[in-house]
């Protein structure tokens, strides 16, 4: 259930559409829910989630461990399917997509940055970025992507030859190289030290501010809310609060 906390409170999706100068939300959750079943055990990870995210926003999803943040991100990225409700992306209902269509959606529209980087260990930094080209997706020059994350000189290194921060930056390069409309980040700084984490956050913020990409970041670190355009609070499997940040800080300004 959503709680309204500011003037720019969340409204019914249709009304919200009308209010934003005719701008339609990029992402729309309508009563989405997710239930996991393992044998006799039934676990409701998310229930009745209503949420909208506008194009170009940097959204931080906050919540304690087990709150359902990652599940929300998985549903948004088409990595998992909702068991109830609907999710729209750019006006299309992704909850109605089949496996093939979902694959195409992930390949073309979504860039994912994982907490543990999930690079292919037997490919170099350059090849990990270039891998997206194998999907038939038009991407920028992998070297350019690596330059953007400051790893141009490590292009021939394998993941095992790089630090965690460097691997995460390769992961970001891989995600941004195809210029996706939506960038999803699951605890992108979770395995990094503060300085490296700040660099990563800066990169993500730039994607939103400079390149106009929508960035959705899941984290348990509430300090990150300061850099977000919108903060979504998740607790016990539902969205409990959505806050619009009028003056988000620069990533370099925050400390933890």
């Amino acid at each position: 259930m959503q709680k309204k906390t500011t003037d720019k409170e969340k409204k019914e999706p249709e009304k919200a559409d009308e209010e934003k100068d005719g701008q339609r939300p990029l992402i729309l959750f309508e009563g989405a829910g997710k239930i996991y079943r393992t044998g006799q055990i039934v676990y409701e990870a998310l229930h009745d989630v209503n949420l909208e995210i506008m194009e170009g926003e940097l959204v931080v999803i906050l919540g304690p461990s087990g709150a359902g943040k990652s599940t929300l991100l998985n549903l948004l990225g088409g990595l998992d399917g909702a068991t109830s409700g609907k999710i729209f992306f750019g006006g299309e209902e992704i909850t109605a997509f089949d496996d093939v269509r979902l694959g195409k959606f992930r390949a073309h529209d979504v860039g994912i940055i994982f907490q543990f980087y999930n690079l292919v260990p037997t490919l170099t930094a350059y090849e990990n970025v270039d891998l997206m080209q194998d999907l038939g997706v038009e991407i920028m020059d992998p070297l350019e992507a690596l330059r953007m994350v400051g790893l141009e000189d490590r292009k021939d290194n394998f993941p095992s030859q790089m630090s965690g921060g460097q691997q995460q930056r390769v992961s970001i390069a891989r995600a941004i190289a195809k210029k996706p409309r939506l960038l999803l980040c699951d605890e992108p700084t979770g395995a990094l030290d503060t300085n490296t984490g700040r660099e990563v956050l800066k990169l993500l913020q730039d994607q939103s501010r400079v390149h106009g990409q929508t960035v959705v970041m899941v984290t348990h670190n509430s300090l990150f809310a300061e850099i977000a355009d919108k903060v979504v609070m998740v607790k016990n499997g539902t969205v409990v609060d959505v806050k619009i940040n009028e003056s988000p800080k620069d990533a370099e300004e925050i400390n933890w």
Binding site: D80, D99, G103, H108, V120
Partner: protein, 776 residues
Amino acid sequence: MTGNLRKKLFRDLRQNFVQFLAIFVMCFFAMLVLEGFDSDETGDSRSVDEYYRDTDFLDLYAESESFNRQDLLNLKGLPDVADAELRSTVNGKVRLSEEKKVEFNFIQTNNISKMLLSAGENYEEGMSGIWIDRSFAERQGIEIGDALQCVCNDNRFTEVVRGIIDNPEHMYFVIDDTYTEPDLGDYGYAFLDAGEYPGADISYNRIYVDLKTVENQFNLDDHDIAMLDNAKMEIMRALDKTGLTVVTKQWEAGFRAYQGDMEYNDTMGIVFPALFIMIAMLGIMTTMTRLVTRQRTIIGTLKALGFSRQAILIHYISYSFFIALTGSIAGSIAGWWTLGKTLNSSMNRFYTNPYARMEFSMKPVIVTIVIVMMAVMVNYFSCRKLLVQRASDILRPEPPAVVGAGFLEKTFLWKLFDFATKWNMRDINRNRVRTLMGMIGVTLTTALMLSAFGTDEINHTTEGWQYDELTPADYTVTFDPEAGYGVVYDYAKQYDGQMIQSTQAETFHSGQTRLYNISIVDEGNLLRFQNKNKEYVHLSDHEIAISSRVAENYDIKEGDFISFKFPQSKERYSGRVGMIYKAPSNQGLAITRKYAESLGITFAPNMIYTNKTVPGSLEKDRQEVSSVTSKKAFIQSLRAKSAGTDETVTYTMTLAVIIGVVVMYNLGILSFTEKTREIATLKVLGFSTNKIRWILQQQNIIVTGAGTAAGLCLGIKVLELIVGSLDEELDYIFILSPRPYIYAFLLSFVLSLAVNGIISRKVIDIDMVEALKGVE
């Protein structure tokens, strides 16, 4: 597959080099063995078929003391007979630097079982001169135009060599009882026109028949055999002669020997490759399943990034596809050049087939496709199992299997076990499939080793069985058929020997007729008999003894009746089968002299067995003595014959050991990798490296023990299959000494312990921090 995934493929192959090499090696050896046997067998089968067709190989022949032109005309008049020709076959000698035995064949026409000219001029009716066999000419240095001094029926005559030839009937040729196996070129055969026959009147003792209803080919089907049997009956009725024997082509000596060897090779060519292929499949299944499982996160990532299920499947299928394909192709090529060549040359030692060659068949192609398909399917299903899940599910680590407490854990005994035993029992219980795969690997390896060692022992024990246990005579003397009882008796008395009448007889049972050897045995202890348990048994004076192969072929049991007749007479003798004995060769019937005489048979011994030294000069000096052969000479001949099989078995044994090491190492490495985290935990808790290695070795001993026990049982079944496929003339008793069992057991065990010892050395190198880190 796209560029970066292709790079990933090759780097993954390099990173998992040992596992992929193991798969390659297993496919390689499986196909090496298969192609080795198959190329020889296919070449043998097709070349002999062509040889028989090109030379119009006989469909059957009639044998008697004498045939005349009228007999020939009678046969030619039969509706099924396409052609027939008379032949006089007589053993004689040719004087070279020393006298050499030669079988002379006097012919009128050369239309059936024709000579195949290798050099010189073709035979035409009425031509003078002699056509001599190729092996004999090569070994004795005989050339076209040489004048050969021949001795035949006490007549001396000289003939000029007109041609060097091969003849299909003599493809497997043993001139007399002096030789147990062919010694090509030491004796020979020759063809001459009937007009060259030395002496007054030629006596034809054979008529060769070509049937309209049967082709000349080697490979006969049931219809051909039925036609041959019908024709045989017709011919017997048409000739109606005393002492007539009609032999259809499938009972011709060369045909039978060749067919027997081919069947043996055929079985070996199925059994051993089947074992190797099973091992290869096991390796592919375990390795590829685990590889896919280990790459779970990467598969999940690829799916999350948007790679289609098909693209990921193709990528992972490529691993096993390329390895299985290259291994199988390389193995096939190596099989042709190694085992195939060896087998082929061993066949050529005993058979003179001018068309002999190795040939490629579709079998290895089909088996390669099957191996590759199975490898692909294993990968497909293990990969698909993951890919049907949502990307988010694949990215989560696989939850550990929920396994309840084992039976022992619920008993009071559990408390008595030390930590190592408890750890191992729980590990086995929780990883049953992995344990089972390891056990199957050991089982197949042990079975393969026992099959190889067992075949080796069976081949070699024949020597001792035949010449130490069944005929422990130091010398065997054979006599001219005309020698007479008195002469043989005198020799037996002089050399304290045992007299035997050994001759061919037509045997009858349940409407079937077969040619077998019959031994009429006088008193003595130099020809002995054993039952299937290798216990000595004595011939009865009131019953017939038959060899187990005869019993199998006729489906006769003790108490049944069997009849026989000698070729020279029309008299048929019938008796009750009182004993079934086992003999490695020379299958047939045996009766005592007393029993023979009670049936009205006149005892006409033609050989004696003795332990006294018999001078070899008797063979030259005494006309009545056909041959004097020492036990040593028999054994040498037998060893020469088994040399080819020995090479094959040595190949198989070597391959069994190599593949055993590969399988055990591969399964060991996979298992060790899966246990790395547990081992790291033990290390963190303070367990010493040696203690951990001993825990791992303990589990290995349990798995190897169970695997070797099952392997020995499987190996016995495999050996039974091999022994069952032997030529009808051969019968090996299937009682092995403990040696092959001990060798197979010890070798499997030692290999397993050694391999585990090598792998467990990696315990030292385990980085506790790295091993206990996150999911990756």
